[in-house]
Symmetry: C3
Subunit: 202 residues, 3 copies
Amino acid sequence: MLDVLELSGVFTFALTGALVGVRKDLDVLGILVLALVTGLGGGIVRDLLIGHVPPHALEDWPLPATATAAAVVVYFLHGPVQRLGRSILLLDSIGLSVFCVSGTVAAAHAGLSVGAATALGAVTAVGGGVIRDVLTAEVPLIFRGELYALPALLGALVSAVVEEADGPAPLYLLAAALCLVWRLLAVRRGWSAPSAWRRRAW
Amino acid sequence: MLDVLELSGVFTFALTGALVGVRKDLDVLGILVLALVTGLGGGIVRDLLIGHVPPHALEDWPLPATATAAAVVVYFLHGPVQRLGRSILLLDSIGLSVFCVSGTVAAAHAGLSVGAATALGAVTAVGGGVIRDVLTAEVPLIFRGELYALPALLGALVSAVVEEADGPAPLYLLAAALCLVWRLLAVRRGWSAPSAWRRRAW
Amino acid sequence: MLDVLELSGVFTFALTGALVGVRKDLDVLGILVLALVTGLGGGIVRDLLIGHVPPHALEDWPLPATATAAAVVVYFLHGPVQRLGRSILLLDSIGLSVFCVSGTVAAAHAGLSVGAATALGAVTAVGGGVIRDVLTAEVPLIFRGELYALPALLGALVSAVVEEADGPAPLYLLAAALCLVWRLLAVRRGWSAPSAWRRRAW
């Protein structure tokens, strides 16, 4: 069950990466690499930081295979995929929620503190997208007002606390749900993250 | 004493990162992430390269706490902070001098050669700023004539030699002082690093 | 023999990195750093991912020395070097062929599967160029139609299969030759990698 969620997260993240490649008119290799780094990059960075080498993405073949499949789908069917719009956004939000929890748990199991595990959970969830944006010479989307990383940070924090307190498994679902609901509300209501505080005129 | 210097270096580096975030009109998360990577990124890259995982920045909570504090200060008070101008430049130069020495020593203790320790000392000192510039889709400032990395390289080289020769502790102060003085003179006199050599006409 | 090939690959890759630095009017440090990361970056990323730390580039001084030499040559003689044009392209293709094989073998020796070793072989061959482009705020050249990474991927795949099957040494030469010939034909004939598939009108 968890594996299915994780792989569907990788698939959707990789879809968004490959779509950026198509939009930027990159070649087939650019599309493939963007799919791979967007789908797997967050987990790879986390694994490097906790010293789990080679990273899972290089050990468990279903992970790169799933990201590659997303690249193939986008390569041939980018038109229809782009028209899915909202459904991708939903799947992407599920991926975000799964990754912030699974990344936090992996970091906590490696012996990291609550704070460090929270940070690495968020890195797992958003790191791939940041690498995608860096590779296409863009300022990362998550820094530009999109309310995307803060829900992941919340989900990661809750799961780190649950892990530390040795709480029951369903609480991880709660953590993921908090992230998912906040993210979906942000999309639907157009909420955005605030930029630097400016004193208002009276 | 050293810890205070190190943390004040992290704080100032993080300040400059957060200020770039404000100037680029990024959101609160972008400001926080730029503060964290600018303050801690050089040390994290060094730790990855010497195999010290998880990196210090994830183990010692004062490090990320200090960088986060700088982000909070900039978020609310970016106007006054920007007006500090010269004082930030001074603090930033102190941070540079401390990091090039402490980074070199950490690398040498991990068993690296004089040359490799020198390189990693310089990476510790300037790596955070490079990541900051990459994340904001800019060519790194230190490649564009700013005389910033060469003083750090000198400080790193001197400390690597002192470490190799098992020299007395005050010599590390000398290494840091050389870096600091060169950097401050460069700022005051407007010295810059030369670009590619071009044959002059007679 | 292999060492000579490897070092000549580092030298040529570093040349191309340094030339980009000159073209972008970076200072001496920018030219040096671009030479180092282009010549050594692919191998460093591979070493980090297989857990070989410190990476070879920090342990074997001929590697950084060779890259530094290339930076010095370009710093003083960028005009003549640029006029070499075709010869650099040939040397660069040889470097690509050597690195995709040596990177794959290093990954396989570290215990990685055929697929992972292939991926890391390709990363070794093209990673430095990608970092060079990221550091100069460009979308990586290898994503923009240049038929460069696909030959490396082929060479890596063949060597990974040879390694897995414990095949005789000359077959590695075949792997390198396949990469080299495909790459040189691509240069000569102007072949490029296809971008996203688009239904043709009848």
